[in-house]
Symmetry: C2
Subunit: 232 residues, 2 copies
């Protein structure tokens, strides 16, 4: 490789790579600007929320004219979509450690806790991914089946697949359905906390525990007794 990332070095390379070196540099600079735009955009979203991300403000922040942004992204939504993908990758990364716990029944609460924690620690990112625009989240699952979306969901499914294949769940149980229920549960917790901020409510982590233990063991000490005379 070339020693220095200077213009000089590039032209030396060009001496024997032909015009390829200079094209490389231009490509690298292009990618770098694209990356910078995304970095700044992320900052704005995290700090002020997605609705506050305007093309003009973003252009100002990266010190380019607004029109320049359109040389690197088709439109504002394209930027949002990219931020979504990256946010979802962060979420997946947060799930990963929990996903490696061996016993599925230990793994389950850890996954749930990690999921909720991500939502509470990155509220604006979470909002962007799941609550801002249907087109964004839809793209995460519909576009390519091996993106972070389906992969994260797969992690949840795996819990129940493992339980099932170890003979610890009733046969015929559908792991995907249980995973969906779990997902709905944790998403519900995060999502309600993020929108209905005025609600009294149990702290999110405590609520997550209740959710998981209830899903696993059912209502605590439930007596199935038939309806006696009305008590209300």
């Amino acid at each position: 490789m070339n020693d220095v990332h200077l213009l000089l070095g590039v032209q030396l390379v060009k001496a024997y790579t032909g015009s390829m070196g200079i094209a490389e540099r231009k490509e690298r600079q292009r990618a770098e600007l694209r990356e910078q735009i995304l970095r700044v955009a992320r900052d704005i979203v995290v700090k002020e929320g997605f609705p506050a991300l305007s093309m003009r403000k973003l252009a100002d922040a990266v010190e380019y004219a607004p029109a320049t942004l359109y040389l690197h992204f088709e439109n504002r939504e394209a930027i949002a979509k990219e931020l979504c993908v990256r946010g979802f990758q962060e979420l997946l990364a947060m799930l990963e450690p929990a996903a490696q716990v061996e016993d599925p029944l230990e793994r389950l609460p850890k996954l749930a806790e990690a999921y909720v924690r991500f939502g509470m620690e990155h509220p604006e990112t979470y909002r962007l991914i799941f609550m801002e625009d249907a087109k964004l989240s839809t793209a995460l699952f519909g576009d390519h089946p091996e993106g972070p979306g389906p992969r994260s969901f797969g992690v949840l499914v795996q819990v129940f697949v493992d339980l099932l294949s170890a003979g610890r769940l009733e046969e015929g149980t559908k792991p995907e359905q249980l995973a969906e229920v779990l997902w709905a549960g944790v998403h519900g917790i995060v999502s309600l906390r993020l929108t209905c901020t005025g609600f009294p409510g149990t702290p999110a982590d405590e609520l997550t525990q209740v959710l998981v233990t209830t899903l696993v063991k059912g209502l605590p000490g439930l007596k199935a007794g038939r309806a006696q005379k009305k008590v209300r």
Copy 2:
């Protein structure tokens, strides 16, 4: 021109109520216009979603100048807030029949089903209430403690209060926590269906059933056995 806006019976009333009748009429007309604005706004939201509700479009639809809207509402958000309250009242109304089932264990699935059905049948209204802006949903719970928000939540709490007071739940169980978990579950189901439209997913009503039975009875046929040798 003005005979369009004129209401016939009013002048008769004025004949013996003196100047009070005319003030009444004006007040009524004022309220009527306010109501019409809200009606039209609701139509737009239901048909095209809340982001498509612009003051200019709304003004056009009610055949007034945009500035006129500000004589009846402080701003766009005030309109949204009012639509939220009314939407939530609809939701509460949908819960009401289910809420009157006597046996709490029968009531629970019916409530869940009604909640989810509302979300699926009025997606844009549901979005507006719970997913559009934190300030909106927050206001529903924080502003006045006897609005449809807290009341709806109360209906969910009642299920577990009834179970508890009938001695069918372990003592020390907190009904509010269970209600929150249930709420998070159904909200999660609706909310995921509304945003991640591309997701394969079980139909919402079926998923609701799985959620409820799992919350009540726990994982189907779960064997608590300790982790055997890894199967993965």
